[in-house]
């Protein structure tokens, strides 16, 4: 029998490679090859002239990169990306964790109801969610301004909120985009945290409570240390997603109209796809964006390896 098994194994030594072939081919052609092309393009002066064939594409060394690094719009967009991620990531994680903790305390039916509703938010397409939030916050007829203008002033309300435009400058626009990102993103965090909580034996919480720990102490002394791997992965995933957020911002700022509201990804996209196209410079921006995200991804991969996900 063992000999048969060995024979089988030898005869099928190529099997895993054949099984991987289709996926490897598709990913290589449509993901890896474009990545290589981007890095190549980022060293060429590929723009409108080259596109219509009036001039050949030439290697310009680090020309595109030095252009980008001396470009104030690049630094503005980078700052917007960093600051908006710094708001989106913690908010998504905190709201998601709180909802996850709440879910673990609810009665069975209420928990099922709340998590169904959360799944609905998660499943809403980013385009729809963004358009809905823009409508909620639109200056004429939107419910957000209506509510804020009726709030008492000690809650920050007041008549100046009537017809307040949320999309005309960067800070309100990214506040709105953050609301969309958090609304779409917290259910994933909540469900993951809830799944983690289910793996912790109830006795641990009970004994902590008997020892006189309040909810705050219990969370930081028991829950967080035990769920640290999950939080680590959720944190890194959120950073990657929110730093590169595109659709929500694209719709909230009203397509590519207002350059001072671009984040890094939108700035790169606009450089490539608004006239005149500058594919070379855009590729340099794309490469910078990719490198930043890859650095964060290394942290994500290491966290996954530590968690034993590669076994």
């Amino acid at each position: 029998l063992r000999r048969r098994a060995a024979l089988f194994a030898r005869r099928h030594r190529l099997a895993p490679y054949l099984l991987l072939l289709p996926s490897a081919a598709v990913i290589a052609a449509l993901v890896l090859w474009p990545t290589i092309q981007i890095s190549e393009l980022s060293f060429q002066n590929y723009g409108l002239q080259q596109e219509i064939g009036a001039a050949p594409a030439q290697w310009v060394g680090f020309g595109n990169y030095s252009h980008v690094l001396h470009d104030p719009e690049f630094w503005l967009s980078l700052r917007i990306s960093v600051l908006s991620a710094a708001a989106m990531v913690p908010l998504t994680l905190v709201v998601g964790t709180l909802v996850g903790l709440l879910l673990s305390r609810l009665g069975r039916r209420m928990a099922a109801f709340v998590s169904s509703v959360s799944v609905l938010a998660w499943a809403t397409p980013a385009v729809s969610a963004s358009v809905i939030f823009v409508w909620l916050a639109t200056p004429d007829g939107g419910i957000v301004d209506w509510l804020l203008s009726r709030l008492p002033s000690w809650l920050g309300g007041g008549a100046h909120w009537a017809a307040f435009s949320w999309t005309n400058s960067a800070l309100p626009a990214y506040t709105l985009a953050t609301a969309v990102v958090v609304w779409l993103g917290f259910p994933f965090v909540a469900v993951s945290v809830l799944a983690g909580l289910r793996t912790i034996p109830v006795e641990l919480f009970e004994s902590a409570r008997v020892d006189g720990g309040g909810p705050w102490t219990i969370f930081w002394r028991v829950t967080y240390p035990l769920l640290r791997p999950i939080f680590q992965v959720l944190f890194l995933l959120s950073v990657i997603w929110d730093f590169g957020v595109f659709t929500q911002v694209f719709i909230v700022i009203g397509e590519l109209g207002q350059r001072d509201e671009y984040n890094l990804g939108i700035y790169e996209y606009a450089t490539a796809f608004t006239l005149p196209p500058a594919y070379g410079v855009a590729s340099a921006l794309a490469f910078i964006l990719t490198i930043i995200l890859l650095i964060i991804t290394v942290g994500y991969v290491r966290a996954s390896v530590k968690e034993g996900a590669l076994q």
Binding site: I38, V119, V131, G244, S304
Partner: protein, 290 residues
């Protein structure tokens, strides 16, 4: 313990229970509000949504907004055209990515070979590459291949970008099938194909459903690639681009915009409510562990 003390304790627990459930209800209502507001606006005539005092429900519900969307006032094509595009792209890419991912998952879960870990790490990294970066190169490639304004090009891209997550998820499902079952069948003289069809496939089927849902959501919602590749040919638009175009070109006709958005969103949400139990298990098994 006295009866009174135990009663008081029970009452305290009941009050706390009710408080927690009330909080849960509040969270659910806040979460649900944007979806509710979208649907409610879609049924309001212009005089109502363009009013200075918003009302939660339409006083005189109308189907006019939906009619405008379905008849195609903006692009001149009925809504069904775009639904058809979206479903075509989504279903083909879901089937393609599920099949390809299943093969890869079997290799990664059942065989030990060189580059196995490398391949897994490659998938993790590929999953994180920013789409707005790759879209530049893919746009130039597709233009020289005449694949712009074509749904076929989109299908390829959606298949490729769904693969990392679907492979990771399916790998866990394949690994969960007891190897002994396959070995017993092999000893009984069943060839690898028979083992696959009779044993592995039926047992992995629930996993395939979960991963298909993921691939479906990704392709149905995808925005950047569709926006870039389908730029000029409005008849080829998929639903996300259609809704965005509708919103961009329709000034502030929020009733019609919300109707378009409702027609795009509500079918997915209904589908999710049906499959969500299985999905939540898959969400956790695949995404967090991956």
């Amino acid at each position: 313990m006295t009866v009174a003390a135990s009663l008081a304790r029970r009452r305290r627990r009941l009050v706390r229970r009710a408080g927690v459930n009330l909080l849960g209800l509040l969270v659910a209502l806040i979460t649900l509000f944007p979806i509710f507001w979208m649907i409610s606006t879609a049924f309001k005539p212009a005089t109502e949504w363009y009013s200075l005092t918003p009302h939660p429900l339409p006083a005189h519900p109308t189907l006019g907004n939906f009619r405008a969307v379905i008849d195609g006032n903006v692009i001149g094509l009925p809504y069904w055209n775009f639904l058809k595009n979206s479903l075509f792209v989504t279903l083909v890419s879901v089937v393609a990515s599920s099949l390809i991912a299943l093969l890869a998952a079997i290799a990664l879960a059942r065989f030990r070979f060189r580059f196995r870990t490398t391949y897994l790490i490659m998938l993790l990294i590929v999953q994180m590459l920013p789409q707005q970066a790759l879209v530049i190169a893919l746009f130039l490639d597709f233009r020289s291949l005449n694949l712009l304004d074509s749904l076929v090009g989109l299908i390829g891209v959606y298949t490729a970008f769904a693969l990392p997550v679907t492979i990771w998820m399916l790998r866990n499902f394949v690994a969960a099938v007891p190897r002994e079952l396959e070995e017993a069948a092999a000893i009984d003289g069943a060839g690898p194909m028979k083992v696959f069809w009779r044993i592995l496939l039926p047992l992995v089927a629930p996993g395939l459903v979960a991963t298909s849902v993921f691939a479906f959501v990704f392709a149905y919602n995808e925005f950047i690639f569709a926006l870039t590749f389908l730029g000029t040919d409005t008849a080829k638009f998929t639903l996300p681009i259609y809704v965005q175009y509708f919103y961009g070109r329709n000034g502030a006709n929020w009733g019609a915009i919300m109707a378009a958005s409702t027609l795009f969103t509500v079918p997915v949400l209904a589908f999710f409510l049906l499959v969500q139990r299985r999905l939540r298990a898959g969400l956790v098994a695949g995404a967090v562990k991956g």
